[in-house]
């Protein structure tokens, strides 16, 4: 199957003017000269997005990821190179872009739908489902300027999603609306994935990328750093991010490089017997071997655990004073002790980071470098093992044993709750 999007050697130059003259009068006065600095927002970017793939573009602010998306959408024209998109395309760069506040919701659906490439007949056919999705049945003939921001965004999303594109471009626009609506949007995106449509998501949030994408491209300074599986790409992204955060020491004027580096991370369970998996409730020790070129008196360590679907299970408080360690020259071993791991079945990956407490320097971050597996010998199921106790007492009469503490709950059949 041919690729859905082929990006071939795209470059985009922006002209950064020191002072911008936007009128003929000023141009004539200045003799037609406009001094500018060329800025390459994209430099020879090539990529292929397969059909049915959810492709993530990951990068810091200003790395050119949004520019690339705008080029793919056809909003910006590349200075050189070519992009070929197979099938019809819808770009969600901003929800409700192009709404006319003075027009009714109905008129705006037609206007916005047409802007996104739907014909009048298409919109006629989809009108009801757009209104239903936006939950605006009672307000559709009101002027959009009287809409709340939530209503505005719902309408924008409902129109965009109804274009039914082969290729959908998303630029972090889902960061809107209340959580119920976000869930609805997300469900829609998932449905698109199931249907085999191609989705390109641009983000600087690794969680977004990890959970949604099958292929990830990391960008930096307008260039492609790597393309690959989400886990690997995120690791590269974070490494790149850290490599790029070398700060100049204000007092000495010296560059501070990676004076600290995490070389290896190992996991060890405290359960009995020789087995390479934990039982729920076992203790866990994560050991990070840290190399140090110079002493760091105020290092802070962080740890994060992800499950096999890349959902974050736990991330430590980055400012927890208990996580402060003093690292001497040469380094040493930093141990994280979990006295009890209440997780049930699953394979979990461990990420470890180390940063400075006094300066904005992240020394190292190793994503998913160690794994541990939990196998539950019992028949309980779920995500975590919640400790609980069972006791029995009569409805009336003296209590025996300890008084069970009831935290609310359904009061069935006249159970009398003990007063606290």
């Amino acid at each position: 199957m041919p690729a859905a999007i082929e990006i071939e050697g795209i470059s985009k130059q922006f002209k950064l003017y020191n002072e911008k003259y936007t009128s003929l009068k000023e141009r004539v006065i200045r003799g037609g000269k406009m001094p500018y600095t060329p800025f390459w927002a994209l430099k020879d970017v090539s990529a292929e997005v397969e059909q049915g793939e959810t492709f993530g573009i990951l990068g810091r602010n200003g790395c050119g990821k949004s520019t690339l998306l705008k080029c793919v959408a056809g909003i910006l024209k590349p200075t050189s190179g070519e992009i070929r998109v197979r099938g019809n395309l819808a770009a969600m760069l901003e929800l409700g872009a192009g709404f006319q506040p003075d027009l009714s919701g109905r008129d705006n659906i037609y206007l916005n739908g047409s802007l996104l490439g739907l014909s009048r007949a298409d919109i006629d056919r989809r009108f009801d489902s757009i209104v239903a999705f936006a939950e605006l049945e009672n307000f559709i003939d009101n002027q959009v300027k009287f809409y709340s921001s939530g209503m505005y965004v719902r309408l924008g999303f409902a129109v965009a999603i109804n274009v039914e594109p082969d290729v959908l471009l998303v630029d972090e626009v889902l960061a809107v609306g209340d959580s119920a609506f976000q869930r609805k949007c997300l469900e829609q995106v998932k449905q698109f994935q199931r249907e085999g449509r191609t989705i390109v998501v641009v983000s600087h949030a690794t969680d977004t990328i990890r959970q949604n994408c099958s292929q990830v491209m990391v960008m930096s300074h307008g260039q492609v750093v790597t393309v690959g599986e989400p886990g690997e790409a995120i690791r590269v992204f974070l490494a790149e991010l850290l490599g790029g955060t070398k700060v100049i020491n204000a007092e000495t004027g010296e560059m501070e490089g990676n004076v600290l580096a995490i070389s290896t991370v190992t996991t060890e369970h405290g359960g009995s017997g020789v087995r390479n998996h934990l039982y729920p409730g076992d203790s866990l020790t994560v050991t990070a071997d840290i190399d140090a070129l110079s002493p760091v008196p105020d290092a802070m360590v962080t740890i994060a655990v992800h499950d096999d679907r890349n959902e974050l299970v736990f991330a430590s408080d980055p400012d927890d004073p208990a996580a402060a360690v003093e690292i001497p020259v040469g380094g040493g071993l930093v141990q994280f002790q979990f006295p009890e791991v209440p997780l049930l079945d699953g394979t979990y990956s461990v990420s470890v980071g180390i940063r400075s407490n006094s300066q904005p320097t992240v020394f190292d971050w190793k994503e998913g470098v160690a794994r541990f597996e939990v196998a539950n010998p019992a028949r309980s199921t779920g995500l975590v093992r919640l400790p609980f106790e069972v006791s029995f007492r009569h409805r009336s009469g003296p209590l025996t044993g300890e008084v069970p503490v009831t935290l609310g709950g359904t009061n069935l059949a006249g159970w009398s709750e003990p007063s606290l």
């Binding site: 199957m1 041919p2 922006f14 936007t22 009128s23 003929l24 141009r27 080029c71 959408a73 056809g74 909003i75 910006l76 024209k77 590349p78 200075t79 190179g81 070519e82 992009i83 070929r84 998109v85 197979r86 099938g87 019809n88 395309l89 770009a91 760069l93 901003e94 872009a97 192009g98 003075d102 027009l103 037609y110 206007l111 047409s114 802007l115 009048r120 989809r126 489902s129 239903a132 999705f133 409902a158 999603i161 039914e164 082969d166 889902l174 976000q182 869930r183 997300l186 829609q188 995106v189 449905q191 698109f192 249907e195 085999g196 449509r197 983000s203 969680d207 977004t208 959970q211 959902e311």
Partner: protein, 326 residues
């Protein structure tokens, strides 16, 4: 938020299937390939204009609705304006100045109709891309349609003003020259293509040189007086008739694409090519037959199509950086 921080557990609160998404077959429309590169592909751009004609209608309607959103009389205003102009010129020229030309107001309206269409669209088009920067920066669509929508608005105004003219003609009992009326559609085609081309050009240039708007207004004022609307073409032709060195002026008039269009309107609606006043014959328009008028219009249409394509190419070049210029 992060896409998926609130990911629902399976089976929980499913979004309703919308738009019959289940009908989707991957690869159904994959034969359609969109190419984005630095080049301007004229044929593709023209095709896009045609496939998005629904959008042109909607953009025009939007502009009209926004324009008359809060006026009670709404569209009546745009009829009141030409009616008032008609009345003023009627008073000034028929009663006070006594030029002697019968029904001067009708003559004037016949010339003003096509000019107003061009003028209105040219002025509105200069600002249209800048005003709609919100969609230009965030949505990909043929942006020429924004410029063409100002032609659409001007066309609606044209129809409303025509109604005023027809009412005036009924009141003054003037019959148009039925013979020449068949040229009007041809003149309209020429006018619309030329106006469209100019609007596309102006809308793109104004993004880079924002004072184009003001320059255009001044230029249009000068242009208005260079076209025989208030006066007549034959007035100029007679003046230069004796001097062979000035004959180019006559040709300069006919090279202005608006002049022959205006003259066709005058010929068809006013119907007289001359009038008698105080024992003297005053010529208004050349006493040509259909042929020369049709030929002139034909030349204008061909030239306007050329200009239109040129405007599309220039617009296409400038468009590439709209999103960063706005």
């Amino acid at each position: 938020m992060a896409l998926g921080l609130d990911r629902p557990r399976s089976g929980q609160e499913k979004a309703p299937a919308i738009g019959g998404s289940s009908r989707y077959i991957p690869g159904m429309s994959h034969d359609q390939i969109t190419v984005v590169n630095g080049k301007v592909r004229l044929a593709r751009r023209c095709k896009d204009l045609w496939t998005n004609r629904d959008l042109l209608v909607l953009l025009t309607r939007t502009q009209l609705k926004v324009k008359y959103k809060s006026s009670v009389l709404g569209y009546a205003w745009s009829m009141l304006n030409p009616a008032l102009v008609l009345a003023i010129y009627f008073v000034v020229f028929s009663i006070i100045s006594k030029s002697g030309q019968p029904h001067f107001a009708i003559w004037l309206m016949a010339g003003l109709l096509p000019w107003n269409l061009f003028n209105g669209s040219a002025i509105a088009s200069t600002g249209v891309v800048v005003q709609n920067s919100g969609i230009v920066k965030k949505v990909a669509f043929p942006r020429e349609l924004l410029a063409l929508s100002t032609v659409g608005v001007a066309m609606v105004m044209f129809v409303l003003q025509s109604v005023v003219l027809v009412i005036a003609m009924v009141i003054f009992q003037i019959t148009p020259n039925l013979h020449f009326l068949i040229l009007l559609p041809l003149a309209m085609v020429a006018l619309l293509i030329f106006t469209g081309a100019m609007s596309i050009l102006l809308s793109a240039i104004n993004v880079y040189l924002r004072d184009t708007q003001h320059l255009t207004e001044v230029a249009l004022m000068a242009w208005f007086w260079s076209i025989p609307i208030i006066y007549s073409y034959e007035l100029i032709a007679e003046k230069v008739a004796g001097h062979s060195s000035l004959i180019w002026i006559k040709w300069a008039y006919l090279c202005d694409p608006i002049t022959p269009i205006v003259m066709t309107f005058q010929r068809a609606i006013y119907s007289n090519t001359s009038y008698l006043y105080e024992g003297k014959v005053h010529k208004l328009l050349p006493a040509w037959g259909l042929g020369p008028y049709a030929e002139l219009l034909g030349v204008i249409i061909v030239a306007s199509i050329g200009l239109f394509l040129l405007a599309m190419v220039i617009f296409g070049r400038l468009e590439g950086n709209f999103a960063e210029e706005l």
